[in-house]
């Protein structure tokens, strides 16, 4: 939506986008309403979450729209939409809490619910208190991806296994969510600092292209199957779970032709990087123009890839190399591939925004010095929270497993996150690291946080298996 707007290049009247977004929200709410009438259940969690998604998406589009056109009035509507999304999100949490009988911290799904809530709340705080008006441009897409992921992950209310029945669960997870959301905020602020600090647009181009390439390359390198097919985890729609061949060994289905599509897209996604390298080598700006066109092309292709991926993964029965017969798959079976693809589109769109509307953005952001200071303040908030999160986890582990530290991967990575931010603080306080280096550090810190949150859960299983 925002992308289509961006293409127009001319901010005609400020009202156009608001009307469009408003219409889209109304349309989606109407569709949702039809659904509600059919099921006869208005305040179900799904509906509330859906409402939150719609409002967050609306807010995201308006924030982007503000970035693109610089129309101040978008902002008011954007934060209003964020408020509505936050209310729906709160209601969804309350509903789940009531239904499950425990605070929503027991699974990745429930933690995402809380994480998105904290992120939206902090966005509003940053907007009101620190006047970082466009922070939503970065945080709302993260929230949207979060809500989308939630739609894919399992939503059944699971009763708490014995180890989780402790007050410390709430203390530990609340602290974790607060800390992680503060880290996310510092990441967004550091990105904005880089823009205000006159980071060259083409450097952003290179980084954008490299990270989308990394997404596609990792998908292709791990999932490409002979004759252009793509391997995806099989999904059993009845049990709503992945299909296992034996304990810990997942069954993969091969979807024909998707592999070629992914390869093609990764080549196109890589092309801006190639043009950028050529421009640096030949010292010619004409290659940069080509690179920007390539970004545009890559967005089109990426959107197409996401669409085709969704269509193919949702329906249809596919063969497997490891077992006889046809199996189904689902988006829920590959949440990380899906969010990677969606994330790729988002970062490319953010680049376009920067490319076309940089002066407007710069005008509406606080000064670089201020952003630098607020980033530091956010980390000053995140660091004690991280410390307390680790400490409460250790205390709880001592009560449950009989040992306060067992070098379980999640624990180790939490400690690594803590160390990375500790390094940031030392560099900043004793070495006077300011500006760019500090911003890069904050960005790297958030990458580690994300790995601790998601990567460890899915890649390095251990005692924290349930979360």
């Amino acid at each position: 939506m925002a992308h289509a707007k961006a293409e127009q290049q001319q901010p005609t009247t400020g009202a156009t986008l608001i009307v469009l977004v408003g219409l889209a929200v109304v349309f989606l709410l109407f569709m949702a309403f039809l659904n509600v009438v059919k099921s006869g259940n208005l305040l179900s969690e799904t509906n509330l979450l859906y409402a939150a998604l719609i409002f967050y998406a609306g807010a995201g589009a308006l924030y982007l729209g503000f970035g693109v056109t610089g129309t101040q009035s978008y902002l008011k509507f954007a934060s209003f939409s964020t408020w509505l999304g936050l209310i729906a999100n709160t209601a969804a949490i309350a509903h789940r809490w009531y239904e499950a009988g425990h605070a929503p911290f027991a699974s990745v799904y429930e933690m995402l619910l809380s994480f998105v809530w904290t992120l939206a709340a902090l966005t509003l705080v940053a907007e009101k208190k620190y006047a970082v008006k466009v922070i939503g441009t970065v945080t709302m897409p993260v929230a949207i991806v979060g809500v989308l992921l939630m739609q894919l992950l399992r939503t059944d209310v699971h009763p708490l296994v014995p180890a989780l029945q402790s007050t410390w669960l709430h203390v530990h997870v609340t602290l974790a969510m607060l800390a992680y959301a503060a880290c996310a905020l510092s990441f967004a602020l550091a990105m904005m600092f880089l823009i205000q600090d006159k980071l060259k647009t083409e450097t952003v181009l290179a980084v954008t292209s490299a990270s989308t390439l990394a997404i596609y390359a990792s998908i292709v390198s791990t999932r490409f199957e002979k004759w252009g097919a793509l391997n995806l985890v099989a999904w059993n729609p009845e049990t709503k779970s992945e299909v296992f061949l034996s304990r810990g060994v997942r069954l993969f289905v091969t979807i024909p032709d998707l592999g070629w599509l992914m390869t093609l897209t990764s080549l196109v996604v890589a092309s801006p990087l190639v043009f950028y390298a050529l421009a640096r080598w030949k010292k010619s700006d004409s290659f940069l123009t080509l690179a920007n066109r390539a970004v545009f092309l890559s967005i089109l292709l990426q959107v197409m890839t996401v669409a085709i991926f969704m269509l193919r993964a949702r329906d249809g029965h596919y063969p497997s190399l490891d077992a006889e017969g046809l199996f189904q798959t689902s988006l829920a079976a590959s949440p990380f591939i899906f969010s990677g693809l969606v994330g790729g589109v988002f970062i490319s769109l953010l680049y376009l925004l920067l490319l076309w509307r940089r002066p407007d953005l710069e005008r509406s952001l606080p000064t670089a010095d201020n952003l630098d200071r607020i980033t530091y303040k956010t980390i000053c908030l995140a660091f004690p929270l991280l410390t307390l999160m680790i400490a409460s986890g250790a205390y709880w582990a001592n009560q449950t497993w009989g040992s306060y530290w067992s070098w379980d991967p999640k624990e180790t990575w939490a400690a690594i996150t803590w160390l990375v931010y500790a390094l940031y603080l030392h560099m900043r306080i004793t070495r006077g690291w300011r500006g760019r280096r500090a911003a890069y550090f904050a960005i790297a810190g958030f990458a580690v946080v994300m790995f601790t949150f998601f990567g460890v859960t899915y890649l390095l299983p251990g005692l924290h298996a349930y979360a």
Binding site: V161, L388, A391, W413
Partner: protein, 493 residues
């Protein structure tokens, strides 16, 4: 590090200065950062490479080729967190914290213990923020400043030296030392962990209901005998409706010299503590042994009533005046080969029970198998016919046992670090100085107000401006007579 290398190559350096250089290298932030980066890298490696203590040996062999495994084992990478080099690295980190703290602490302590109360002229010139207000005389300026500081919640102090005087006020001086509190509490946590590493131990103790034991199996496979024993009186599991476990509990008793010293029902998250040893509920499950077999027996000749009995293994139950039955053997998962019954596994998959019915009159034993096993025995000869109604399997309760004498160091360190961090980030050491300055030639006086904060300077500047406004207001509101009286008194001095 570079410093260290230089000092070694320099021939003229004496031993004392080498030691000094090594000390400085340790105290430098650079060394600290390098060490922390190494910890990060190695710890990350420890989560990516499979670790021996928590992985099946088979899985290790499947994951890595023999050569790779040998290499990983010999470098300790398969057990990073217990490797000597990781421990050594942690020791170096601790030394680095100690050195850096000792290096910097005296300065901070001087700053803390001897606050700078009277700003000299050069300090006044450089100080930011500062403000100069016109006043009628010295005393009225000082009184106004004192009142303003009081109303802001400060306790102003008059500083009187031989040739000058002024006002000093401060708040939260502790903030200057908070960083040392944080680092000291880290050391305290490390200390606790080291104490646990040396004197602490962890293991498991599996008890069947009614069993008493004092032998704890440690993580490395050794057995540790406790000076007291633990008896499990009962244990159980409660389930949710969907069958997932909701609660495991065990009723434990501490036994020594035949006496019960302590009793407690433990659940997950609520251990039993005795003599520094903690017993945690960690699992619960069937132990493959039968607790009780519920039977229904009917006399074969149809002369008596049907009766229900519960019988434990090796127990003999009297059926009537003439007949008894003994529960001789039990197989949770059986197979028959060559006229023999074998135990296939300990899982309750395919159970078989062997009963021996004894008739006094016939002076004969009859073998009864449930289910009927034609190859082994003919059940119909027995004077009683049996039906198995239910099997009550025995259960064990899995206890984690740990002794962590150093954990108090860890927890006090955690509390201290929490307080320390809160102070470091959110408690600001604020200082205000007020000095009246009179020009001896013109006789005109002005009031110099200066302030400083060790962090969050923007917010402090607002505070400062607030103070200045208050002082201005106080100056205006001071009644005329007071001013004159005090002027007079100053003049007398």
């Amino acid at each position: 590090m570079a410093v260290e290398a230089n000092s070694l190559s320099g021939k003229t350096l004496s031993g004392k200065s080498v030691a000094r250089k090594i000390w400085q290298a340790f105290a430098s932030i650079k060394t600290g950062v390098i060490l922390l980066i190494m910890v990060v890298i190695l710890a990350a490696a420890g989560t990516i490479i499979l670790q021996r203590p928590v992985t099946d040996p088979d899985e290790m062999q499947r994951a890595y080729s023999p050569q790779a495994l040998r290499l990983l084992d010999s470098t300790g990478l398969t057990d990073v967190f217990h490797a000597w080099w990781f421990l050594g690295l942690m020791v170096l980190v601790s030394l680095c914290i100690v050195a850096a703290s000792i290096d910097r602490f005296p300065n901070a302590w001087r700053y803390f213990s001897r606050p700078y109360k009277y700003p000299d002229e050069s300090f006044r010139r450089a100080s930011r923020p500062q403000k100069l207000l016109a006043i009628a005389d010295e005393e009225s300026g000082l009184v106004a400043a004192e009142r303003a500081l009081h109303s802001l919640g400060f306790k102003p102090e008059r500083v009187v030296r031989e040739d000058h005087f002024g006002i000093f006020a401060e708040r939260h001086r502790i903030s200057e030392l908070a960083v040392y509190i944080v680092h000291a509490s880290l050391l305290l946590i490390f200390f606790g962990a080291v104490v646990d590493g040396i004197w602490g131990w962890q293991g498991t103790l599996n008890l069947n209901e009614g069993q008493t034991s004092n032998a704890v199996e440690l993580r490395d496979g050794a057995t540790r005998t406790l000076p007291f024993a633990i008896r499990c009186d009962a244990a159980g599991q409660e389930n949710y409706q969907d069958g997932t476990p909701k609660k495991w509990w065990s009723k434990l008793a501490v036994v020594q010299n035949g006496r019960d010293l302590q009793k407690k029902e433990i659940v997950v998250n609520d251990p039993l503590l005795y003599n520094g040893v903690r017993f945690y509920q960690s699992s619960y499950g069937p132990n493959g042994k039968i607790d009780k077999l519920m039977l229904e027996g009917t006399p074969s000749n149809g002369s008596g009533a049907r009766q229900e009995i519960g019988i434990a293994l090796n127990q003999t139950v009297t059926l009537d005046a003439d007949t008894t039955v003994r529960f001789a053997e039990f197989f949770p998962d059986f197979a028959v080969r060559d006229g023999q019954v074998y135990r296939k596994s300990n899982d309750l998959e395919n159970p078989a029970a062997h009963l021996v019915v004894t008739s006094k009159n016939a002076a004969k034993d009859f073998d009864v198998w449930l289910p009927q096993l034609d190859e082994i025995a003919d059940n119909s000869k027995s004077p009683y016919q049996f039906n198995a109604i239910d099997l009550k399997m025995g259960h064990f309760t899995g206890l984690q046992v740990s002794h962590e004498p150093g954990q108090w160091g860890v927890w006090s360190g955690v509390v201290l670090i929490g307080i320390g961090l809160a102070v470091v980030f959110y408690v600001v050491h604020m200082r205000f100085w007020v000095v009246p300055i009179c020009d001896p030639k013109t006789g005109k006086c002005s009031l110099w107000i200066g302030g400083s904060a060790n962090r969050n300077r923007e917010a402090f500047e607002q505070r400062f401006n607030e103070l200045v406004t208050l002082v201005e207001a106080e100056l205006k509101s001071l009644p005329e007579p007071v001013r004159q009286e005090q002027t007079a008194s100053v003049a007398w001095n």
